[in-house]
Symmetry: C2
Subunit: 226 residues, 2 copies
């Protein structure tokens, strides 16, 4: 069965341009802030100013998912946030497991912002005997050997990889074989997954290099021109 990948369908998720997908979390954050401030309504012009994009683009982006506004009024903040949350799959309790309970893994496990939005780390795994059995945020680190058995009994959607680069692909393969549907990869390498599995890389090194590039350009005397 074809899923219709014509040339005009590239770089899109179900018809949504990747450029738009990358803006969705910013909408979510801004709207959350506005809800917290008890702001009732917002126009595309105001929202655009906060996003540092064009008002047309805001309307264009949102219209890909539905008609959430009202002419002459704008958008009701709480309603728009609800819709964006639905689009992003937030607040629906997503179960996660984390592999590699080193310092970064433990920092992520303790980071409450994710749990607040419904992303729950349910188990930690490591292969280092020194780390196995330690408690992090109320969870006892399990032996990596138990990963398959554990996921059979307690399936999860997302696997978080905080291992060294050398172990990342092997762990990914195990997670995928155990039914994980999304990989959140912090290891400084690109891991491959089958088409049925989603992947998101967090490459801190690449981010630092981009900052370094900017610094170099600034020194060269001109800088950013947007």
């Amino acid at each position: 069965m074809s899923v219709g990948r014509g040339k005009g369908e590239r770089n899109r998720y179900n018809g949504i341009p990747l450029a738009v997908v990358k803006r969705l979390p910013s909408y979510q954050r801004l709207l959350s802030d506005l809800v917290a401030k008890e702001v009732e309504r917002i126009s595309s012009r105001e929202l655009a100013a906060k996003m540092k994009i064009n008002a047309s683009q805001v309307r264009q982006d949102l219209s890909l998912f539905g008609s959430f506004g009202q002419q002459g009024y704008g958008y009701r903040v709480s309603y728009l946030l609800d819709e964006i949350n639905k689009i992003l799959g937030i607040n629906t309790k997503t179960k996660m497991v984390l592999v590699g309970a080193g310092q970064l893994g433990r920092a992520i496990t303790n980071y409450s912002n994710f749990a607040k939005r419904g992303f729950i780390i349910e188990a930690l795994f490591d292969r280092d005997p020194e780390v196995i059995g330690k408690t992090v945020n109320g969870l006892s680190v399990k032996d990596l050997k138990e990963l398959g058995t554990y996921l059979k009994a307690a399936p999860a959607e997302i696997g978080i990889i905080c291992t060294p680069a050398s172990a990342a692909q092997e762990i990914t393969d195990q997670l995928v074989a155990s039914g994980i549907k999304g990989i959140w990869n912090f290891a400084p390498t690109v891991v491959k997954v089958p088409e049925t599995v989603c992947i998101e890389h967090v490459h801190l090194g690449e981010s630092l290099m981009i900052l370094s590039f900017q610094l170099k350009q600034k020194k060269a005397g001109l800088g950013m021109t947007k």
Copy 2:
């Protein structure tokens, strides 16, 4: 004095499109891997295959910085890596300070990959008396009050922000006032800096939302089309 920000100059760093800037770290990583494997030469076609982009794009990207290849031969891997490293400002010893020595801050401090590329964390600061004085990777965490004095005596280029969102802007302002030229922000908020200062955000929450969006789309039955 004008820096020439015509309409055609938007979204560029000194004439380099942001889209290209974002690919530079990938080139760097791939070329490093090739050097490690002692590969001598590579063509734009081969490099493009590894990057999952078009060969024309590789040549187009590189030509923005110079002519690094040779007709009929391709690119000498070690030479091209050297040039990319120069472009990115890697291997030139960049001094950094980190504020917020919580778990994430400590994880970053211990992460040896940055130091390997010449990015050195020289001091850690925190305002929590419980944390001040602790040793992380051989560095004793200093009192945040000493930040200005410290930077006067030992200037650094990059300030890393690992504080809660609520403190991020205040700390940024202090760092900027003390002569820091680039901010690497891990706090889940957008901080503002003057035009003379560079900023790079690492928003883990946004990355997780993008993964969540993909999962939702996959469930809806179609998925990524590139």
